[in-house]
Symmetry: C2
């Protein structure tokens, strides 16, 4: 490990974030000034309890627990449905023509009637993946105000304390309807994110931007799943022309049989400070600061759905962002292989994306 | 030069600070939200025009231009007077027992009647230094609310937009009365600083915290001037026990005959982006963000005095501070001596404090 990087990871926790995996929990909504002063300006997350979040007053909170209500209201709506073989979209998977290396796979996206989307999500919540796909209704293009416009009156169009603090309305509002098999791999967004869960639960694993080296961001060839309704099978196609996507290499929930290997490949992640973890329940709101790495899983409500709305506000590209870019430009420290016999496996050709640079300090 | 550090210096300017030596000028006071959003959170300075700063409504603005008013009001006040041979307090000067190296010299501080302090400041404004000393009435210990308490009603006890944004009153309010010979060497403070000039002008040279390597901060032995009224002479005494102070090595205004040598000793300062420069005139207010390096000179009013009040608010030790400490912990890059023949002089023993570490990238 590198002592200067480790100091940074520890210091940001000791100074402001806290040294446990918990984030701040607020029981009253912040004023705009409090939000700016204690959270946005400090790039620090918090969760707002259901009892004090205004979500409880949203018509959505009661109305959306009824699938028949949703089907009725959106009966003429066409929505974007993401299909993947096992629930991981925008994530790393073996390269189709060289399974010893990885590629970055995007979901098959199709526009479909809302009722068909719900059917697909409901059908694909089997742990045995017997449907052959997992469906996730989402689109990060302001879909809540577009595709789901018929629901727009049923929750706030913005989050008052965030809008006033930031000085502008959300750039995008997105709706997410999925089941427990859908998960989102570690990544960061260049937005201030206010994330409200309407029904079900979302489970976030969070790392601050100071911990960028712990994510082992590498360039992966971009690929796309193509789903055939006829055969019910996916093809994974590398994009042509070839395009590379920088993406986090770490999966926080590896299969038990892979854990040792993962720990040897990503020692900065596994040996550094514990990530922050937070479950956002129905009615709760998470402030997820810009540039934070986040991995998301979900637990559905009794009917099998998790529904969430998130508000993306413009971030400031300020001194924090400049510091981040500088930090990220420094090559990751190399692990001395002699310290950990497991790392000998690291030299395998399984992951040819492993292009660590030499230690910088 | 080091490309990664240079990128950082340039990026913070391109993103947020601007690429000219000017800082933002506001013609209306910011609201607390605007101050937090655009300046404090972004660690970005601005100057507030006299016409819109509330300083014009301060009784101080008219009353303090009369020395007899000040003498009358403070007739029974004892104040801290800083005496130095030539106006540089808290600055680097040749080591008393080894003039080829430097030490960090603090002023001789004496408590004196206010009238004696004014006499000393007025007497010591000769460019030929014929008085043998330069006097500066100041003390960074909340002196405005202490020693100068008799004036406290004549300007605001805090700055409303800063107090509301920061969520607390100033930790210290300091008064500064000096003449054109007093200057303050490059340093940074762990406070958010709101600096109001009442009469005369202050000239600031500013560098953001991202530029820390350009300041060549090194450890210097602490020393103190001891002034003898009998002989009218200063002795410079190294503190016993020996104590080292980390201090900026760069003087932005070297004598013309020393310029080439200074440029060869401090190439990152002289070859990097131009520092920000701002003159704060009577009635204007400068927001000087925490951790910014600043060098201060002054021009007096027609009677020969510059009077200023500054408000120190607590800073947040947040992710920006953690990033700064990390950046500072990286050894400065070394200049390749072959690139600049002047740097050959750098190897002289004149400055044994020159303890550059090896390049880090």
């Amino acid at each position: 490990m590198n002592p200067k990087l480790e100091n940074l990871w520890e210091e940001v926790r000791e100074l402001t974030l806290g040294t446990t995996p918990q984030i701040d929990r607020l029981h009253t909504p912040p004023t705009p000034l409090q939000f700016l002063r204690h959270y946005l300006s400090q790039n620090k997350p918090f969760i707002l309890s259901a009892s004090s979040a205004t979500t409880l007053q949203w018509p959505a909170t009661t109305l959306w627990t009824s699938t028949s209500y949703l089907l009725h209201t959106l009966s003429s709506s066409t929505v974007s449905l993401h299909l993947t073989p096992s629930g991981q979209a925008d994530s790393l998977t073996p390269h189709p023509s060289n399974p010893k290396s990885l590629c970055f796979a995007s979901a098959h996206v199709q526009r479909t009637l809302f009722s068909d989307a719900v059917d697909a999500i409901n059908a694909s919540n089997k742990k045995d993946l017997s449907t052959g796909f997992v469906a996730y209704a989402q689109q990060q293009n302001d879909c809540f105000r577009g595709e789901y416009g018929a629901l727009a009156g049923e929750c706030d169009s913005d989050v008052a304390w965030a809008t006033e603090a930031i000085g502008g309305l959300p750039e995008a509002v997105n709706l997410w309807i999925g089941n427990e098999l859908s998960e989102t791999s570690f990544h960061k967004d260049h937005y201030e994110n206010v994330y409200a869960v309407v029904t079900g639960e979302k489970h976030f694993v969070l790392l601050p931007p100071t911990d960028v080296h712990r994510m082992y961001i590498r360039e992966y060839p971009a690929a796309k799943y193509i789903y055939s309704e006829e055969t019910g099978e996916f093809k994974l196609e590398i994009e042509n022309p070839l395009r590379h996507v920088p993406w986090c290499s770490v999966n926080p929930y590896p299969l038990p049989e892979n854990l040792e290997k993962e720990m040897s490949k990503f020692p900065l992640y596994y040996n550094g400070p514990k990530p922050f973890e937070v479950t956002v329940k129905a009615g709760e709101i998470l402030y997820l600061p810009s540039m934070w790495f986040h991995h998301v899983r979900q637990t559905p409500d009794s009917r099998g759905l998790t529904i969430a709305v998130n508000y993306w506000y413009d971030m400031q590209f300020d001194i924090k962002y400049a510091y981040f870019n500088f930090l990220q430009s420094l090559p990751a420290p190399q692990e001395p292989t002699s310290h950990n016999p497991l790392t000998n496996e690291n030299a395998s050709d399984e992951d040819e994306n492993n292009r660590e640079e030499s230690a910088f300090l």
